[in-house]
């Protein structure tokens, strides 16, 4: 047998350590609660409401993200050079912003005493501390990630396909709808589920901008935070529940995502 080289050994040990770092906390969480406790949660009206708000806000944010993000991603994929780099930096801004700071910023823009607060209150719209705020917070945080990943998808579409469609008489709209979108369809579905998975777990921005009001803006993440102070055991069970939802979504992403044949 060939003697393993030191470098390969180093890589393997390194990978093992990282794997442990990921798996140990997950294992700890799963061990902290029992299936019975989780089943009990599923009949608790407060938990059900929080779950409902979590899923409702995520799925409400989805069409907004899609309508706003998809054309942006496509436009960005067609940009080149300096313009593209500048736009990408703009997109990275919300990505590197600490979530709590993002929540503050949203509050200052759309809150009652914020930049547009007066405008909104004159129109009779209150954003903060409503489900709308949860949705807006999700759109603000998650859309840049969605756009970024969709840009990669669109970059992968051969430009010639679109040109062939144009020469065959398609308008640019038709070329986009009948050629580009169907070609990235699978990847796009995967990205949408990924966006939901990301939305489900948001915390910082939501707690600042939408508040932690049970029955109105309290999502599962916020419920975990609240119950951790009064009843840690319930927090563990809730955490496991949220983790299971995320795992389901992750599994769906991987079933849909186009596989890279080179790997």
């Amino acid at each position: 047998m060939k003697k393993p080289r030191l470098f390969n050994l180093f890589l393997a040990v390194n990978g093992l350590l990282l794997g442990l770092l990921i798996m140990l906390p997950i294992l700890a969480l799963l061990l902290a609660s029992s299936p019975v406790e989780i089943m009990k949660l599923l009949v608790d009206p407060e938990v059900l409401t929080a779950t409902w708000i979590t899923l409702l806000s995520s799925f409400c944010a989805l069409p907004l993200m899609f309508l706003l993000g998809l054309p942006s991603a496509y436009g960005l994929a067609r940009c080149r050079g300096r313009l593209r780099r500048s736009l990408e930096v703009l997109l990275e801004l919300p990505m590197v912003m600490p979530p709590v700071v993002a929540g503050l910023a949203l509050l200052l823009a759309f809150g009652r005493r914020g930049l547009f607060g007066e405008l909104f209150s004159n129109l009779g719209i209150r954003v903060t501390f409503t489900l709308g705020a949860v949705v807006l917070g999700i759109v603000f945080i998650v859309t840049p990630f969605f756009v970024r990943r969709c840009t990669v998808l669109f970059d992968g579409v051969d430009k010639k396909l679109e040109e062939a469609a144009l020469i065959l008489g398609a308008t640019p709209w038709q070329a986009f709808l009948y050629v580009v979108l169907p070609v990235v369809k699978r990847g796009l579905f995967a990205e949408l589920i990924m966006a939901v998975a990301q939305s489900v777990g948001l915390f910082g921005a939501i707690v600042m901008f939408a508040g932690n009001l049970p029955g109105r803006t309290q999502t599962l993440s916020l419920a975990i935070y609240s119950s951790f102070e009064s009843d840690p055991q319930q927090a563990f069970a809730l955490g496991t529940l949220l983790l299971l939802i995320s795992l389901l979504l992750l599994a769906a992403v991987h079933m849909l995502a186009p596989r890279d044949r080179r790997l």
Binding site: D158, K160, E163, A164, G169, K185
Partner: protein, 359 residues
């Protein structure tokens, strides 16, 4: 007046595209080395990019006119184009690909099916209708791409290196198929290629492009007799022997202008002026004429020997001139003949091609 007439000026990365070209019904070949601006030119014609100035007219319609600010978008130009890499839609099957142009123009499902079926029939590919385009062979993909470009009744057909991506066997088949289809259609067609072989095969009007300019434009025969640049001179590397087809005792033979007699596949040739072509790599060279050889031969003097990569090109001159191309090993086996040596050049009748002059 049908056909394409254009004058375009457009800066490219390393030189400027300055082209004036007309394409009449039938095939015109645009020949040029790689990077001469051929594909850029096709993109300008189809409207995917804009020339900095110029005029493009197709029949009576003006597609582009910088003086009057006219610039039709690609979808209104009615030009059919087959890309070098074909760009078939991977998410549609053969029917879907071919029907695409009709669908976006708003024709109904029934009409689409009828026309697609008709077209598949004409092109002899009806058996491919339900196949996924990713499962097709190179030649089949080429056929589907052409079929797709024909559905919109194009007034001009642009074919970008239609056989370049194929393996040699498929290449011959696709060429034969293309020629028969294009003759049937008689649409003004611009076939772009960098391969001399292609020009020798189609023998139509040829425009030669180098560094963004048309350096020669005329019939295949003009190109052979008066090459104006070194690149074109390579075209002459295809052996081209002018002469006449006559009947001797009820059998057709070809008599070259130099006075030699050759036989060739005569199926589609009438007695009269004709020319015979043979690729240099189909010409074999011997010190002594092989016994009982029924093949065409010429006993000549070596005029020059040129080493090109691992191939050797030798020009033999007698009553006519023949260029032979052989491997270095073959050349060494002959004892590395030098200019002045006398050798036999031999080629098989069925590897030569003969055609009546068509000026």
């Amino acid at each position: 007046m049908s056909g394409l007439n254009c004058v375009v000026h457009s800066p490219l990365a390393h030189f400027k595209l300055d082209l004036e070209l007309s394409v009449e019904p039938g095939i015109t070949i645009l020949l040029g080395p790689n990077g001469a601006g051929k594909s850029s030119f096709l993109r300008l014609l189809s409207g995917l990019t804009q020339p900095s100035s110029g005029l493009i007219k197709l029949g009576e319609r003006t597609l582009f006119d910088s003086a009057n600010g006219i610039d039709l978008p690609p979808e209104q130009r009615r030009i059919g184009m087959v890309f070098q890499d074909l760009a078939l839609f991977p998410h549609l099957n053969v029917n879907g690909n071919i029907g695409f142009g009709m669908k976006v123009r708003g024709s109904g499902r029934v009409e689409r099916q009828k026309r697609t079926a008709h077209l598949l029939d004409i092109l002899n590919i009806a058996h491919l209708a339900e196949r996924s385009v990713t499962s097709l062979s190179g030649g089949e993909r080429q056929k589907v791409a052409l079929a797709r470009s024909l559905t919109t009744d194009p007034e001009l057909l642009l074919l970008d290196e239609p056989t370049a991506a194929l393996d040699p066997t498929a290449r011959g088949e696709i060429r034969d198929w293309l020629r028969s289809v294009l003759v049937k259609l008689n649409i003004p067609t611009l076939l772009v290629t960098h391969e001399v072989e292609e020009v020798a095969y189609f023998r139509k009007r040829v425009a030669v492009i180098e560094r963004g300019q048309i350096v020669q434009h005329g019939s295949f025969h003009q190109l052979l007799s008066e090459p104006t640049t070194e690149f074109i001179a390579q075209v002459v590397g295809v052996n081209y022997i002018p002469g006449e087809v006559t009947e001797v005792a009820g059998k057709q033979v070809f008599r070259s202008k130099g006075g030699l007699t050759f036989i060739a596949p005569f199926e589609q040739v009438k007695p009269g002026p004709a020319c015979l072509t043979i690729y240099p790599w189909d010409v074999a060279v011997y010190r002594n004429l092989p016994e009982g050889s029924p093949r065409n031969h010429l006993h000549g003097r070596v005029k020059d020997v040129v080493l090109r990569g691992d191939r050797v090109r030798m020009t033999l001159v007698a009553e006519d001139k023949l260029v032979a191309e052989l491997s270095v090993r073959g050349y060494q086996a002959l004892g590395e003949p030098q200019p002045g040596a006398r050798l036999w050049a031999v080629f098989k009748a069925r590897e030569s091609r003969i055609e009546n002059f068509q000026e």
